[in-house]
């Protein structure tokens, strides 16, 4: 005979409460992604078709926002020279958590057609964590939209953890940044 003693529901531990909070938050976060209007290289030309009537980005809930404090996604669209990488790192650290990085084009993956230049970095993943890559030079607008949907799927499956990786491996990222750039925040802005 089964016991009729009342078994109270198990009290959730702090991590589980926090996780449930993040789960509800994940539904809102993947359906309303705001990207920072920061166009680093040539692949930025693929953004206007994505935003306007043909491949409407707004039906996914995405939209452009003006400052890093307000934005969720940092879109690295194209190659990054050494000068731009300093600004990108500063901007990435100014954003609020949780934050995601999307690399458009082949240049963030392995340097693309500028892979042997002295002023361009080759692998973005060494300096800031990247969640989604969209390969191509430059990628089709349908690929860009596919990349955004992929990021939303990653958020749903809780694998878009670039910002957690950055916090946990902070020294490793800083070591790579110092090796490539010398110093990230420069003090004489007119003579780099």
């Amino acid at each position: 005979m089964k016991s009729t003693k009342f078994t109270p529901a198990r009290k959730l531990s702090k991590e589980e409460v926090d996780r449930k909070w993040w789960e509800i938050g994940d539904f809102f976060r993947r359906n309303s992604l705001w990207m920072l209007m920061y166009c680093t290289g040539c692949c930025a030309i693929e953004l206007p078709p994505a935003m306007t009537s043909a491949y409407d980005m707004e039906r996914l809930g995405m939209g452009p926002m003006a400052t890093p404090r307000q934005a969720d996604i940092l879109l690295i669209s194209g190659y990054l020279s050494v000068k731009s990488l300093r600004r990108v790192i500063y901007t990435y650290e100014q954003m609020g958590e949780p934050k995601y990085v999307v690399g458009l084009g082949s240049c963030p993956i392995n340097g693309g057609i500028y892979h042997d230049s002295h002023a361009v970095i080759n692998q973005l993943d060494q300096y800031i964590p990247v969640d989604t890559y969209v390969a191509g030079c430059m990628p089709n607008t349908e690929s860009v939209m596919n990349g955004f949907v992929d990021l939303m799927e990653q958020i749903r499956n809780k694998t878009a953890n670039g910002w957690v990786k950055y916090k946990e491996n902070y020294e490793w990222y800083k070591k790579n940044q110092k090796a490539a750039l010398g110093e990230v925040i420069i003090h004489d802005e007119f003579h780099e």
Binding site: N31, A54, T67, R69
Partner: protein
């Protein structure tokens, strides 16, 4: 008294839900005009709740305190707003001037916290918002002076009931010049193009909102939605005769907001001194002419 406070809080909450839904539906309408699909109708809710769930950055106690004062002031203002002839929290005390000046408390709180972030773009945005306020308030006040003098009341509910009396027309028809001025000043109040100077995302990096993220930005969005609710309801009660029941109120509210949104979507943005020069030319002349005609000659349709 406790029942009144609960009814007031219910009105404020209803206003927030109503305006957020209407704004979402409007985004879809504008998108269909531009031959694309547009977001879901509850997209604005998703935006606000996403913001409330992020971890933000803060620049000190004045940054947080200003946001609390702004949202608190606007909730307090919305609690006085009458919805229909019967739903009003504090009957007889919903004076028109309370709405104008309590919104100013909200704006002052937001301005304090924006300047307290230390970013010059925020101070520039606040300067432009205050200058725009100086521009659109004066013609609007002249028209409201005419309305108050004609009906003899300054309580919103009483003005709405006076327009519903048999033989009386809505003030949009009875004071035609005044109605046009009212619509132009409403566009200035809502911050819609061509008077969107204070946000201006491409020129001053979204003005006062430049350093906000996370819960402060979410609370400011809630404040903006409730402010839009108060201003459009003000227009409905003053010029369109209020509402006898809630469905007529929803219909009039939706019509006003959609018309204003459609007009603003085909306009560009004016510079700030063009805004001041515009409002002090034809709207002021039309408002003064309407006031002289209505008060001293008595020619009301």
């Amino acid at each position: 008294m406790l029942l009144n406070i609960l009814i007031g809080f219910g009105v404020a909450f209803f206003g927030f839900v109503l305006q957020t839904s209407v704004a979402g539906v409007n985004r879809k309408i504008i998108a269909r005009l531009q031959k694309r699909y547009g977001p879901k109708w509850y997209q604005e809710f998703l935006d606000i709740f996403k913001l409330l769930s992020k971890r933000a950055t803060s620049h000190g106690w004045i940054f947080d305190f200003g946001v609390i004062m702004a949202l608190g002031g606007i909730i307090a203002t919305a609690m006085f707003m009458p919805l229909t002839n019967n739903i009003v929290a504090f009957a007889g005390y919903d004076n028109f001037f309370i709405f104008v000046y309590l919104i100013a408390v909200g704006m002052l709180g937001m301005a304090m916290s924006a300047s307290g972030s230390g970013n010059p773009y925020a101070s520039i945005g606040v300067m432009r918002a205050l200058t725009t306020m100086l521009a659109y308030e004066v013609p609007f006040m002249v028209i409201v002076l005419t309305i108050i003098k004609l009906t003899g009341f300054s309580s919103l509910q009483a003005i709405a009931i006076a327009q519903q009396a048999s033989g009386a027309n809505w003030f949009l028809i009875a004071l035609p010049l005044g109605g046009v001025v009212g619509i132009i000043c409403l566009m200035g109040m809502l911050g819609k193009k061509p008077f969107e100077t204070y946000i201006a995302p491409a020129e001053i990096a979204s003005g006062p909102m430049v350093e906000y993220g996370g819960k402060q930005l979410g609370m400011l969005f809630i404040m903006h939605e409730i402010t839009v609710f108060i201003e459009v309801s003000l227009f409905v009660h003053l010029f369109l005769g209020g509402a006898e029941n809630i469905f007529i109120f929803l219909a009039k509210y939706f019509a006003v907001y959609t018309v204003v949104n459609l007009i603003s979507n085909v306009n560009g943005r004016l510079k700030i001194d063009q805004v001041v020069k515009f409002y002090y030319k034809w709207p002021l002349i039309m408002a003064v002419t309407q006031a002289i005609i209505a008060i001293y000659f008595g020619w009301v349709i």
